[in-house]
């Protein structure tokens, strides 16, 4: 049954309202970040960018950014390698424990992250490892690798195994097949998985909370300041982090678009 015009319009408005609902808090944070007053109250009387200036000069801020960035970059690279193979085991190869493996992968996603962070803290402690940002990488990986694997797996479901078999029949070894056939075919999935991995790690707070030791990531610092000892830098840094993520997403879209245009141009040439 086709939805009537009225139903469709109502649903459309509902969708728009939902987006507004999701982004309204960010609008407030945006306004707060350009308010001059140390103690915020709406409507804002004087606008100023002085908190941004302060944020750029602060050495605490650059340290926080560096830590967050290091964690996110390492998490992205490692989780992509794991997800590439994990997705093949998840979707492509028919092997005996595939079902168990699929379910094992889902478990960390269902798990409360704060508790996972604490569990890891105790585990590192009993192993005699002192938590730093590197242990936070491990914590992020436990949660992000399964998500990246699922994203790559969606792609792995859709490709035709006959392509691999054809290459193998023509004498390609297992590694050659992986490099020349499987990797390019999974590339779009890997790009979006990499984007997800980076951004989810960049914004994550519950896992970092207990696993970074003396280091601190940006979301952790923001949380500490929100719960006690407010700083006017909180909205400013929040917005900087959001803008950074969105720029990265735009960059990724541009990259995908370029790659597609390039490919089309080349096929047209042939």
């Amino acid at each position: 049954m086709k939805a009537s015009r009225l139903t469709r319009n109502v649903l459309f408005v509902y969708g728009i309202l939902m987006i507004a609902f999701l982004y309204l808090p960010l609008v407030s944070v945006g306004f707060a970040s350009v308010s001059q007053a140390r103690y915020l109250s709406f409507p804002i009387r004087r606008y100023s960018t002085k908190w941004y200036g302060e944020a750029f000069e602060s050495s605490t801020v650059s340290e926080l950014l560096l830590t967050s960035l290091s964690v996110a970059v390492v998490v992205t690279i490692v989780s992509l390698v794991f997800a590439f193979f994990g997705a093949l085991a998840f979707a492509r190869y028919q092997w005996r424990f595939r079902n168990v493996f699929q379910k094992l992968i889902l478990l960390p996603i269902f798990f409360p992250q704060t508790v996972l962070g604490l569990a890891l803290l105790m585990w590192f402690n009993s192993l005699g490892i002192i938590p730093t940002w590197k242990t936070a990488v491990v914590a992020h990986l436990v949660w992000i690798t399964p998500i990246a694997t699922l994203i790559v797996a969606i792609r792995a479901y859709s490709f035709d195994p006959a392509l691999e078999e054809a290459a193998r029949d023509m004498g390609a070894g297992t590694l050659t097949v992986l490099r020349e056939i499987t990797l390019p075919l999974l590339m779009p999935g890997l790009v979006s998985a990499g984007l997800f991995a980076f951004l989810l790690s960049w914004g994550n707070f519950p896992l970092s909370l207990f696993t970074t030791g003396a280091d601190s990531t940006l979301p952790e610092w923001l949380y500490a300041k929100m719960v006690s000892g407010y700083s006017p830098l909180v909205p400013t840094l929040g917005i900087m982090s959001v803008v950074g993520s969105f720029l990265l997403i735009l960059f990724a879209f541009a990259l995908v678009w370029l790659m597609r245009a390039n490919k089309e141009a080349r096929t047209a040439q042939d």
Partner: protein, 284 residues
């Protein structure tokens, strides 16, 4: 061919399995072991007792657990109602707008949840975006809805909306249009189609979405701390306090174990009911 698949499958699963074994399952064992240690020790080399679990009952920690589960249940129920029309529209009605919605919602996920919750504090507080502007325009102020149980549930609904919406849309997409059309042709009312055709056929999506949002909400911490101003204490909050201020790892572990067992049972039940190959689009 078959034996090659067996071998390749096993080998490519190894890295992930090793990671989850070492950094997910092993820590859970440590939590379980710590939960049966005597109070306030930091090593596992002690005689086990079950005093931490006794404290859970005696000192009323089960109240936080009940609050957390209750608020999670409430937010899941609200999410089902709020998300159903939108999920339906995304699966069956919208065309290119589905993509716009998907991108907009996924992008909101990349913003740290505490920034978004903090944004709600700025929006809803006295002198915040809504009350401040309203008062400036009309001269009438009103109390802020912050710092209470309803606002925590609101925060849970807000944060976990995508985790309900996407599985639900996926589930509804699996309802064949022909079946629905046939029911209408045979004279079924809109409600009959909803209850007897759509909901049963979209059940996998409903189960995954509800479980995901319930489980995540039950273990949530930031909503009650940032929006709730500790009007009630969530179980995750108690766990955190036991580890940090309390310096009582066995108590924190025992509280964690209770939460883990509840969530784990639900998650395993849900996961075992779901055919991943079907949901994730196996074409072969």
């Amino acid at each position: 061919m078959k034996s090659l698949d067996q071998k390749l499958g096993l080998f490519s699963a190894l890295p992930v399995v090793a990671l989850l074994g070492l950094a997910f399952l092993a820590p859970l064992v440590v939590v379980a072991l710590f939960s049966i240690m005597p109070a306030k020790v930091f090593s596992l080399a002690n005689t086990p007792d079950f005093s931490a679990y006794a404290v859970f009952v005696q000192q009323g920690y089960y109240k936080s657990l009940l609050w957390s589960l209750g608020m999670a249940l409430a937010s899941t129920a609200i999410l089902l109602v709020v998300c159903w029309p939108l999920a339906y529209a995304m699966a069956k009605v919208f065309k290119s707008f589905t993509l716009v919605l998907t991108i907009a919602i996924v992008m909101s996920l990349f913003v740290s949840e505490n920034i978004r919750l903090f944004g709600w504090v700025l929006t809803l507080m006295k002198g915040g975006l809504i009350e401040g502007h309203f008062r400036a325009l009309t001269g009438i102020g009103f109390d802020s809805p912050l710092y209470g149980v309803p606002i925590i549930v609101f925060g849970l609904v807000y944060v976990y909306l995508p985790f309900m919406l996407f599985p639900l849309a996926q589930g509804i997409a699996m309802v064949p249009d022909d079946t629905r059309q046939a029911a209408y042709d045979l004279g079924a009312s809109r409600w009959q189609v909803l209850w007897q055709i759509e909901i049963p056929l979209a059940a996998p999506g409903i189960v995954v979405g509800s479980l995901l949002s319930f489980v995540l909400a039950a273990g949530a911490l930031a909503e009650s701390k940032i929006l709730g101003g500790q009007a009630v204490i969530a179980i995750a909050d108690d766990i955190e306090t036991a580890f940090t201020f309390g310096q009582n790892w066995p108590l924190g572990s025992a509280l964690s174990m209770v939460l883990i067992v509840i969530i784990g049972t639900l998650a395993l039940f849900g996961i075992s009911k779901v055919d991943l190959d079907a949901i994730m689009g196996r074409k072969r």
